[in-house]
Amino acid sequence: MSAVAELQAPPTRSSVGRFRGWLTNPWGRPRFLVVMTWAYVVWSLVPVLIAVQFSFNSTRSRTVWQDFSTRWYWGDPVDSVWHDPGLRSALVQSLKLASADVLIATPIGVLLAIGLARWHGFGSRPSNFLMLFPLVTPEIVMGVSLLLIFTEVFTFVGTGTTAQILGHVTFSISYVVVIVRGRLFSIGRQYEEAAADLGASPTGALVRVLLPLLAPAIVASAAVVFAISIDDFVISQWLSSGGDTDTVPIQIYSATRAAPLPSTNAIATLMMLLTLASVTLGFLVWRAFTRGERRAGAKVAEEFRTFEMR
């Protein structure tokens, strides 16, 4: 009897040992990973949250908290985002560039992705590889070369909004291609073949089958393009013709170097919300479109969960 009790009694351990057991118990949750993840989340989010908090400060200080106020958004008749002409035009310019970028880069990127994924022949591999170049080229290099091209070769473009849009489109296309091509590979050729088998012409198969199946990837890539365009500093700056072609990041940068006010925080907060909104929208649409496809996976996940609870 006592032998059994002895066997069943857990071995006594020091508090350090117990803490290590809590952290690394191979049968329990992966707590070490959980701790690391939360540490990273806090580290990356706290500065942002502080910046957001001071955008609502009632005084001109960006370091000493006074009271909650929306003064820097629209209350202040001179320096608020709404009333300061510089900030306002920057916001408009940023939105203009991002929208144009989405409208131009997404369709081109989708067609390129389909072409690259379906084209097997001489030159297809290098082209597939070269598509990744804009993703790895330092942005500063791309900015300089684009500036050279627009001021020396295609001088009719010059600097300003057109040049900025062309610049944004140039590097955004790669993102669209990478996202859409991934989806293309995962859906494979079978649906197109089925469509052709049922009498759909190549164009018919593209419109009736391929594009609807690509929709989640197209929306997601549009959201990503919007987010990276609105966030872009380097290319917008190189191709800016000054004044009203300055974007929000450029404004924030120069304001911070001169006399920073909480209105800088306010416009940064707005930018963050826009980016978050576009990415969230993209994610939600992706989920809505792929609900059926995920059901099988969800079933497996459910089984795992019940298994885990036992």
Partner: protein, 382 residues
């Protein structure tokens, strides 16, 4: 003549350096349930895909009701396909999946509704029109794929291992259903499978393929009972294969020598001379008490007795050193054999076949499979 006659003439397909289909000749009359049977990599799916139009033949002709369609794009051919994993459009519901082809053909609305309803009735899916493909079971998805193809009244229905993804019991049920359906609609079914039982159960005729070529064409019984090549004998069911020497023709068949034993084989290449293989199905091997010296008997010793449910498998090592398998139906009585029992094996003359040992020797099934899998790798620069 029934619609849907297929003739393949000298059909070849080369991928990189691999000849997937090698000068194939086949004639399939309209309204037949015809199967292409073979191990993976034998070229059966490539053949089907060429008939469907997804692959362009490197060489040869595909005659569909007398017209060469080898270079007609798939959307202009009067054939429809049931894909291995069904390829139901996930963004459309059952009705729209089935209506897809009719919409491409711009059929009027009432006709469309009527034909979709009829097709769904044919596969017993009425009432599920609004479901998405992901909300159906595997068997139901398979039926939608069938309805989607049949609604267009094709001359030929192509089926690429359509039962491969289903569990064994459902597969059995659907085999019978498919065969019934084929009789009902009366069009040609070209069925690709690696499952010999499926091919034997359903086909009017079948072709056994190996290495891009047809080894034998015939009715299921013919191909099973009278295999013409080693590959067919080995691939279809379990066969006992033995090395022997053909001595020449006698009245009914061929005399063969296995070392010091002489047997008479009634089937196969009766005029063969020299080294041959002889083959017999396990269910035709009869076990007799030891000492029976009548003709066509081989003495041996039971090596193992395996209970397989409906039958008992008895493995016997015969005096020539080879092992033979005998399949004894399970009648509920205990068998008087156990490991070490000396027995005589009776190999009936009509069940014993002589096969020439040609260059087209059959690789064992798994070896063929491995070869097919490693083939694309070996085509790269090495």
């Amino acid at each position: 003549m029934a619609r849907g006659e297929i003739r393949l003439i000298g059909l070849s397909k080369e991928f990189a350096d691999v000849l997937a289909v090698d000068h194939l000749d086949l004639a399939i009359p309209g309204g037949e349930f015809f199967s292409l049977l073979g191990p993976s990599g034998c070229g059966k799916t490539t053949t089907l895909r060429m008939v469907a139009g997804f692959e362009r033949p490197t060489e040869g002709r595909i005659l569909l009701d007398g017209t060469d369609v080898a270079y007609t794009p798939p959307h202009k051919r009067n054939v429809n396909t049931v894909f291995q994993n069904y390829a139901l459009f996930p963004h459309l519901n059952v009705f729209d999946n089935v209506a897809f082809g009719l919409r491409r053909a711009k059929r009027p609305k009432d006709e469309l509704r009527e034909r979709v309803a009829k097709a769904l009735e044919l596969v017993q899916l009425t009432g599920l029109e609004k479901r998405k493909a992901s909300q159906l079971s595997g068997g139901q998805q398979q039926r939608v794929a069938l309805a989607r193809a049949l609604v267009l009244n094709p001359a030929v229905l192509l089926l690429d291992e359509p039962l491969g993804a289903l569990d064994a019991k459902l597969r059995k049920a659907l085999q019978i259903e498919l065969k019934t359906l084929q009789r009902e609609v009366g069009i040609t079914f070209l069925y690709v499978t690696h499952d010999q039982e499926e091919a034997l159960t359903m086909s009017d005729r079948l072709a056994v393929m190996n290495g891009g070529r047809v080894e034998q064409v015939g009715a299921p019984q013919e191909v099973y009972e009278s295999p013409e090549t080693l590959f067919v004998a080995d691939f279809l069911g379990v066969s006992n294969l033995m090395d022997a020497t053909a001595l020449g023709t006698t009245g009914g068949g061929c005399r063969v020598a296995l070392q010091r034993f002489e047997l008479e084989a009634g089937g196969g290449a009766s005029d063969a001379k020299g080294p041959v293989k002889i083959v017999i199905r396990p269910e035709r091997v009869e076990l007799e008490p030891h000492g029976n010296a009548a003709p066509n008997r081989l003495p041996g010793m039971v090596e193992r007795v395996i209970y397989v449910g409906s039958a008992v498998q008895v493995i016997v090592r015969v005096a020539t050193g080879e092992t033979l398998q005998a399949l004894v139906p399970n009648t509920g009585k205990e068998l008087p054999y156990e490991q070490g029992t000396p027995v005589a094996l009776f190999l009936p003359v009509d069940a014993l076949r002589v096969l020439p040992v040609g260059e087209r020797a059959a690789p064992p099934e798994d070896a063929a499979e491995t070869a097919a899998e490693t083939a694309p790798v070996s085509t790269g620069p090495s």
